[in-house]
Amino acid sequence: MWVYEKKLQYPVKVSKCNPMLAKFLIEQYGGADGELAAALRYLNQRYTIPDKVVGLLTDIGTEEFAHLEMIATMIYKLTKDATPEQLKEAGIGEHYVNHDRALFYTDAAGNPFTATYIQAKGDPIADLYEDIAAEEKARATYQWIIDQSDDPDINDSLKFLREREIIHSQRFREAVEILKEDRDRKKIF
């Protein structure tokens, strides 16, 4: 079970009315390397991974939901007061026709979320390498969104999220080292 804290992991402030940014941010909401995919991937893999690293997958999977919430807040703030005309100009007219201003799990091109974005091979090393790759891809996606964004406040939050991807990748790499059971042996040299 989870305990919910009714606040964001890091503050989200939006300083410019720029619905176009929402179109890019939705990649991290319902895209292949987005926060939803990450949360579901880790919280599903943890059942069939050695005990030593179950807790890591639980912790990181949980944190991904906190990131999902931050992305949702950004998208909501960027679109809630935009007129249908502005949404059309921002390239999310199709989204508006289908969902109004409701959030939906799609990628930036409008493809709906699919479970095929996540993998569970059951082989601990294969799964952890997938997780490392996912973190690096999410880090890169944040870089490209920051490159496209002209909103300093959103960029501040995105930088926080990008830094967390670096830490998650680090911890997954350490999980591989733990499973190799090679750490103590190395110290002899």
């Binding site: 870089q143 930088k159 990008r162």
Partner: protein, 77 residues
């Protein structure tokens, strides 16, 4: 030896017939987690407040990224 940086560069092939102005130097990121291995004990830490803003407690993993627009305004390394 050149100063160590987490931002690497390479020079791609440039054609005399490139339709857009050629980008002569391409860059990519190699984040700090690639270099640390299993985290050693007693690494330097940020204080609690700095850590909350940085997104990490550990200085060695702090690697802020600046967008192209921010770099033009003087941000970045």
């Amino acid at each position: 030896m050149a100063k160590f940086t987490l931002r690497k560069q390479y020079r791609p092939y440039v054609s005399p017939f490139d339709p857009c102005p050629s980008i002569r130097v391409k860059t990519y990121v190699t984040p700090p987690n690639l270099y640390v291995g299993f985290q050693p004990e007693k690494l330097p830490q940020f204080n609690a407040k700095q850590a909350l803003f940085a997104g990490t407690l550990w200085k060695v993993f702090y690697d802020p990224y600046y967008g192209s627009e921010e770099k033009e305004k003087g941000g970045g390394q």
